[in-house]
């Protein structure tokens, strides 16, 4: 038996893929998360009110999702409902996260695969003949920066936000700052569309070269976004069967009754399944499970995706295209929110902390993120973090099995395998720091 090991780059965190082969037969494919920091362990005993500042440090890429989830968890425990202005500002914060994340995944993580470059920055070096690429990388960083700036505007700190507080937010957004951001988003929208059009075209060419959009059998899909239009500040989780039927709706409180959790001795990350079946979370789940995008340009792209691939759509590379649709959506939706007044109303409601337990959820860029805390004497007695990437663990391994079988023949391994492994894993945009926390 031979074990092929593929270290992974251009993903968040430390992970590798191992494929076991015997005489051309693929015995197993493993996606190994090789780091652990132990947040659920070390937050024990921490004052509960410090959680919104501590948990963003689970992941510098998904920090905003953890910040808002922590605040919502404490609000659930204390029985507090934030005022409408606070919800709007939190939505803006989550859109900043979505924009930054989808830009990072599209341009920094996966765009280089489409042109055979090692990194976005390498694309820079090839300027004269490849002026297109030069433009791509500059503009990509510009679009990504809009997300970062939106997070800073709505969240205070630039990576680990501080402005969502139990009961609301600690301040509104002054009109002149909102107007300045709005103007930049207006300028950024055509740039983002142009980039996404190029990305779609390059993806199409890559598909023509490799002969597949990424085959693997249909799976269950899981998301907490809205049914009619996207909602990232979410409250209920839905599961869709491979056929497209909604088969489960549940609140974060009952996740243990609905999902199965398992551990392995080769990875620090947990895996989940639904009724024993493989689940998929992230952009494609949302594209399959929301009726419209609710904004004009993004909805046009969703429509195009549905015409080309039907609904529900299953090919793996559509996760990447789904991210592009959300990139455009995040800009459009943030513009709508910034057009409304974001100051001059109540920013928070009073509350009294008490012992108990709480569940909080957001739809993070990678899927539904749930926090659960048990609070005793104002301190954390127990904490659980249900990370969206763990829902994709089995889906990633199954998709890897498909590419391994495709590129490993009896007497040889096609060199395309290494690239295919990278492409498959990146399509799911796993976050290892979060998955192992």
């Amino acid at each position: 038996m031979t074990t092929l090991t593929f270290p992974l780059s251009r993903i968040e965190g430390h992970a590798q893929v191992e494929i076991e082969v015997q005489q051309g037969k693929v015995l197993s494919t493993r996606f190994k998360a090789t780091e652990l920091r132990g947040f659920d362990i070390f937050v024990q005993g921490v004052p509960a009110e410090q959680m919104p500042v501590i948990v963003p440090r689970i992941c510098g890429v998904c920090s905003t999702a953890h910040h808002v989830a922590a605040v919502k968890t404490l609000e659930d425990a204390f029985g507090v409902t934030p005022p409408p202005l606070a919800s709007r500002i939190r939505s803006l914060l989550l859109l900043g996260q979505l924009l930054q994340n989808q830009a990072t995944s599209l341009f920094i993580f996966t765009m280089p695969d489409r042109v055979g470059a090692e990194s976005l920055f390498e694309m820079d070096e090839i300027d004269q003949d490849h002026a297109v690429r030069f433009q791509i990388s500059r503009n990509a960083l510009k679009v990504r920066e809009l997300g970062t700036d939106l997070i800073t505007l709505a969240g205070g700190q630039f990576i680990h936000p501080v402005r969502a507080v139990v009961g609301g937010v600690n301040a509104g957004i002054p009109a002149e700052r909102a107007a300045a951001m709005l103007k930049r988003l207006e300028e950024g929208l055509p740039l983002a569309c142009e980039l996404f059009d190029t990305y779609w075209e390059l993806t199409q060419r890559m598909k023509d070269r490799i002969g597949s959009w990424g085959d693997d059998s249909p799976a269950y899909y899981i998301t907490s976004t809205g049914r009619v239009k996207p909602d990232y500040n979410s409250h209920e989780i839905r599961v869709m069967a491979p056929s497209g039927e909604c088969c489960e709706i549940f609140s974060p409180r009952s996740f243990r009754e609905i999902l199965e959790f398992s551990q392995s001795d080769y990875s620090y990350a947990t895996k989940t399944s639904y009724k024993g079946g493989v689940i998929r979370a992230n952009s494609l789940a949302r594209a399959n499970m929301t009726a419209h995008m609710g904004t004009k340009v993004a909805n046009g792209y969703l429509h195009r995706l549905r015409i080309e691939f039907g609904t529900p759509a299953h090919p793996i590379m559509l996760f990447d295209l789904g991210r592009g649709i959300e990139l455009v959506y995040a800009i459009e939706r943030a513009m709508q929110i910034l057009e409304q007044p974001l100051e001059g109303e109540d920013t928070e409601v009073a509350y009294t902390p008490h012992d108990g337990d709480g569940y909080g959820m957001v739809e993070a860029p990678r899927g539904p993120l749930i926090h659960h805390y048990v609070i005793e004497k104002n301190k954390i007695a127990k904490a659980e973090f249900i990370i969206p990437t763990v829902h994709n663990m089995r889906a990633i391994e199954r998709a890897l099995q498909v590419v391994a079988e495709r590129y490993i023949q009896k007497d040889q391994v096609d060199l395309e395998l290494e690239r295919a492994v990278g492409r498959v894993v990146r399509a799911f945009d796993p976050c290892i720091a979060c998955a192992t926390h």
């Binding site: 780091e35 921490v46 510098g60 630039f158 600690n170």
Partner: protein
């Protein structure tokens, strides 16, 4: 546009740098990406988050983020520094373990052992350790994460970086003599006045002892400084007791908070979020970190 690998690059004359990520959250890398002026001034040779290169090559500058948590971290750290002219430790995790240091408390350390039943994963060390427990460091860049401006300062001209002594001097809030709170509000309590010092409003802000240079994004946004930049030059070579005493003096003169309440809050079992960000500077078994080496 071809999809194959392009013609070999011409040898670049730009300084070369690499980013080695140990056990951390990638927030430092994200902040570095936000500082994208370096794209024109440096050649990035290794940073797994953005590029598929699998080994640290010979470089002029090596940035190390994250704490040392597994045997694999130790291996990567020790092999990478051999290839670098200049080594910069970036972020609070690399310097003091950062939040992961909460896991070094005796009462939770046991629980980590239970994670060790897995066979085919890197082994965890008994504690999260700062990088200078293993390798010599030329420059320390504290912050959780350091701002893009600080990253550019560290890469281009650390000596010339203009910063105030403390966060407090960069914050811009007004301190009022006659507004003395009777009790502390904790960290996160609703609406905050946008002009007045957070201590006047009853928040446990540690900006008075924290190293300047970040331009106070948190306090400007109405959240108390949690000290992620570590101790200011006044406190840097001293132990955390000196820092606690200083904070206590500040609150004594600016508030009417009873001595005991303040003391309990600050010491609430080693948990004040900021305390661990100040640890490890005074050295313990090592000599203290010289302030000239800290940006």
């Amino acid at each position: 546009m071809t999809e194959e690998k392009n013609a070999p690059k011409e040898h670049s004359v730009l300084p070369r740098f690499a980013v080695l990520q140990l056990s951390g959250c990638a927030g430092c890398e994200v902040s570095l990406l936000n500082a994208h002026e370096w794209v024109e001034k440096f050649e990035l040779t290794y940073m797994p988050l953005v590029s598929s290169a699998y080994d640290v090559p010979e470089v002029d500058i090596l940035l190390i983020s994250g704490g040392v948590r597994t045997d694999e971290d130790v291996y990567h750290l020790q092999s990478a520094v051999k290839k670098a002219q200049r080594v910069v430790a970036v972020g609070t995790c690399a310097l003091s373990g950062g939040v992961a240091n909460l896991g070094n408390r005796d009462e939770v350390r046991q629980l980590f052992l239970m994670e060790q039943h897995r066979r085919h994963v890197p082994r965890l060390l008994p504690k999260s350790r700062p990088v200078d427990d293993f390798v010599p460091i030329d420059l320390y860049l504290p912050g959780c994460p350091p701002t893009p401006e600080l990253f550019m300062g560290a890469l281009l001209d650390p000596q010339g970086y203009q910063a105030s002594l403390t966060v407090c001097q960069e914050c811009g809030r007004k301190k009022l003599k006659d507004m003395k709170p009777d009790h502390l509000l904790g960290f996160q309590k609703g609406a905050v006045d946008s002009e007045i010092c957070l201590i006047n409003q009853g928040y446990l802000c540690v900006g008075t002892s924290t190293r300047g240079g970040c331009r106070a994004p948190c306090t400007r946004a109405g959240h108390p400084c949690v000290g992620c930049r570590g101790p200011s030059n006044v406190l840097i070579e001293k132990g955390s007791q000196a820092w606690l005493d200083t904070i206590q003096r500040v609150f004594h003169s600016m508030t009417n908070v009873p001595e005991k309440e303040l003391h309990d809050e600050l010491l609430s079992p080693q948990l004040a979020l900021f305390l661990f960000q100040f640890s490890d500077y005074d050295g313990g078994d090592r000599p203290p970190r010289p302030k000239e080496k800290v940006l």
